[in-house]
Subunit: 176 residues, 2 copies
DNA sequence: TTGCGACTATGACAGTCGTCATAATCCGGC
DNA sequence: GCCGGATTATGACGACTGTCATAGTCGCAA
């Protein structure tokens, strides 16, 4: 059972969201996950880089599947997507961010984060396009939706309020 | 002359944009600005926290004044705002981010970043409102514009492309 | 029971971090 | 000239970082 491995990945995601990749140490991660420090390099021979990349991949897949599963109605998908983030923010006192954004701002996992964003964009664009919107426009709208949510998450953290997410959700609802 | 001080602030902004606050050391900053290491705590008795806060404030004011100065036409303001970021991204191989986003993701300057975002929102909302848009709507649109640009910057960095910024600009132009 | 591979415990390494104390140097007013 | 505050040079401190080597423990197969 790779439960130690998974505990480390989950702890990494949690801490990366709160503090970012650079500000999170390996010792923090194993301590948070009550994982043995001695086996870091057994499970992740590539060290912090491998851990950061895999954690970002895992988080990106999770949110991506959430996006895929959310109805065929893109408006509903976006509404639920924003609801998901508002819930996450509120339960963390506005100190949690998006794990993919954390990965994007690191050297180690930047490209993994980029691939995750691209995948989200394609999923959402396909939803929008299926409602009769031209391809180009659907792509632009999908990018706008994801970008504005990511940006709103950063603003929400800085302002310690979910007002940015509320406003963005309001505008996106009218738009899609 | 406070030119050493200013060199340190400018270097801090540059490095924060590239690597984030946590991944930038005091030694990096003085070295980048060719400033004397010995006088760090002469100019910034509060240490890294004071430096990070002041750098974030300075950068926020600069971009804020840029936003204020940009015409009365909000559409043109946003277009130029996005053009500014596209130029910055291109000339840095997509490795530079927004200094306020970096501040927002740090412990030290989070609230300073929040105030900067709020100030930008108010400036932009006032522009939009002056074109006959109801207050609430103007505020939502301003937040959407800033959030989507911030998010697009992160996506652009991750994907090493300015396509996100291009798409967001396209959508915002239609919207405002 | 024995053996072997997977996993963990512990401590150490070289390096870097923020911070600061101390001493040296610079430079404008007398 | 020369004094005094502003500024800089240098080196050190304790803490922390990622990484790894070594030794130990565990559970399953033979």
């Amino acid at each position: 059972m790779a439960s130690t491995r998974e505990a480390m990945l989950d702890s990494a995601i949690t801490l990366f969201r709160q503090r970012g990749v650079a500000a999170t140490s390996m010792r923090d991660i194993v301590e948070h996950g009550q994982a043995p420090r001695g086996s870091i390099y057994h499970h992740f021979p590539g060290g912090k880089e491998e851990l950061a990349r895999e954690a970002t991949q895992r988080a990106g897949d999770f949110i991506g599947s959430l996006l895929t599963g959310l109805a065929n109605d893109p408006a509903e998908a976006i509404e639920k997507f924003i609801g998901f983030w508002r819930g996450a923010l509120a339960s963390a006192d506005f100190l949690d961010g998006c794990p993919i954004a954390s990965g994007a701002l690191s050297d180690e996992a930047r490209d993994v984060a980029g691939a995750a964003f691209t995948s989200w964009e394609e999923t959402l664009a396909a939803h929008i396009e299926s409602k009769g919107v031209p391809v180009d426009r659907a792509e632009s709208l999908a990018t706008l939706a994801i970008a504005s949510v990511e940006g709103a998450l950063i603003m929400a953290r800085a302002q310690r309020s979910d007002e940015p997410l509320r406003r963005v959700g309001q505008e996106l609802a009218q738009l899609i």
